[in-house]
Symmetry: C2
Subunit: 348 residues, 2 copies
């Protein structure tokens, strides 16, 4: 098997916010596709989507859809993955799953290629793509952990509505226009489409992403906590998270506090470490107001880091501002990147 | 002197975002005013504003404006306060200054009545009103410090554009409409009107409030750090801040991590402490998605606290979500509240 081989690829949930970006990313990366199959719910079956100038018709995803599929990219919700990923594996496909269904399953590697590419080798047919807010953070923290050791992380997030899907983005758009027109705001999607209450996101901030757990944390916060430990192979890490949904469409930003093990680390050292890490772009020069923002990072595959500075009281503490396109590195690009590493390393 | 006395009040910078709220708050509180004088720059002199149904004409602020004034509420920028506050004091007025001009001056009390009302007594003619993002945080932290001791604070803020004045709010409004129309965004105010570069705030997040200092922190972040220590009389406090401007009009929100000295404190204890403190409203029940947001706090004078939970790794660590109207408790109401305490305690 060589790099010039081509593969039968299925995209499950192609019409979703992430599914659309998966198609764009496969095209941008010129992924070696033999046959492309776009799968969806019965509701979306029959719809048309374009890939490299050719029109594809969506088919309803069934177990038999995966006959002859080499790699299946899933992004159609956890229940679809639970039901169909095992069927795809049974038929010989490698599943790269963008839902939370298998992330904490011990037999499933949870992969951010810049951090734990080697874990891919241990797959049993399924590789999980982490939560969007986790991916960009661990990519930025990995060079710190590798070189300085890492004891503690406290993160507060600033997350885009597109992480809750196309309907949430549409809700922000409609509410924003209503607000500017002086009209009443109607909320029916955010903070969580499946939860009881809905609050306006336009010109607001909602400190709830996903449902609440018994311990007072949301699932999104617990995902960041648990997934980070697993991806970084660092179960002893002290880590806490507060996740907040904000009125912008694309890119998550994160205010990250990190405590390193090594003493006497300078800001300059940290900037060099982070800036030379794969997949990271350092955008950090206060003298010329250089720092990343959600708008500046949107549409790009990299993770952008700025505002690196030392805690004024804790000698091993640093603060970072981490921004990345939640639909690209946070989802579609990380999934396609896993597929690229699988193919390049013949780990299929 | 009794509570039924009335006072000659001057509002300096009456046309600004905070000045307008000062007039509304004086009216809402039925402050015992004998004569009201609205002062401004020469540019705004001659404009009319309403107070209790009566039209007032703005006069240009000069040293002589303060003859016969009992209390002068300043909110017209640091340079105006630097120039005119001493002139007002010289003429016997008590100055309550909402700018950063005198906040860290050792001879000037920096006051949040719920925290350090007694400091008012030490004034030498000027009382400083703290930075908006500081006020709401110290109000929420005071019951914690008083009852449990407080070692460390790490805060990440979510700040409204009105903190940068009416022009910034107008910029958000115009950019938001342009974005929804698919037009190019023009930025000329935010993040800092006096800085070199400007970036769009609409559907974005800007990790810069005020200019950068040599140490990589912004002035806003250093204000939170230094003012908190002064107001709370806690110079040994370890505290760090990351301040971010967001696309909403009113109320700042804050993700606050706090480490207490006392061991074995439960979340329930912390909720009871915070919820029974003056000026604080506890809005915290994950089971029914109850938590404060910028929109829900706007127009109210209280500080709202929610999402109180224990850090999962640090036994003395807790996380809080603190929201308050930045123009009311963060500025106008805190200033008027100081004036009320001055009058009630005969500390003029």
């Amino acid at each position: 098997m060589s790099q010039t081989n081509t593969y039968n690829i299925a995209v499950v949930g192609a019409t979703g916010a992430v599914g659309q970006k998966m198609l764009e990313t496969l095209e941008d990366r010129n992924f070696p596709i033999k046959e492309l199959k776009l799968l969806s719910s019965s509701r979306s079956a029959g719809k048309k989507m374009m890939y490299k100038g050719t029109e594809y018709t969506l088919e309803e995803a069934t177990p038999e859809s995966f006959d002859d599929v080499d790699i299946a990219l899933f992004s159609a919700g956890g229940s679809v993955s639970k039901k169909l990923a095992p069927e795809a594996v049974k038929r010989g496909a490698l599943v790269i799953d963008n839902t939370s269904a298998y992330r904490m399953d011990e037999s499933v590697p949870l992969v951010v290629p810049e951090v734990n590419e080697e874990d891919i080798k241990n797959h049993n047919g399924i590789i999980a793509n982490p939560n969007c807010s986790t991916i960009q953070m661990v990519a930025a923290l990995e060079p710190i952990k590798q070189n300085l050791g890492m004891k503690r992380v406290i993160v507060s997030t600033y997350q885009a509505v597109s992480g809750a899907g196309n309907e949430a983005a549409e809700e922000l758009r409609e509410q924003s226009q209503a607000f500017l027109n002086g009209e009443e705001l109607e909320a029916s999607i955010l903070p969580v489409s499946g939860d009881e209450k809905h609050f306006p996101i336009a010109f607001n901030a909602l400190p709830q992403i996903d449902k609440f757990q018994e311990n007072g944390y949301t699932f999104e916060e617990m995902k960041m906590i648990n997934e980070t430990k697993k991806i970084m192979h660092h179960s002893a890490l002290h880590i806490s998270a507060t996740c907040v949904r904000l009125p912008f469409f694309t890119s998550h930003a994160e205010s990250v506090y990190v405590e390193v093990e090594k003493d006497d680390v300078s800001v300059q050292q940290l900037k060099e470490l982070v800036g030379s890490a794969p997949g990271i772009v350092l955008e950090d020069d206060p003298a010329v107001q250089s720092y990343p923002t959600p708008l500046s990072a949107a549409g790009k595959r990299d993770v952008f880091v700025g505002r690196i500075r030392k805690d004024l009281d804790h000698k091993n503490g640093f603060h970072l501002w981490v921004v990345s396109d939640n639909l690209l590195k946070g989802a579609a690009w990380n999934s396609v990147q896993i597929a690229e590493r699988v193919v390049a390393n013949q780990w299929l």
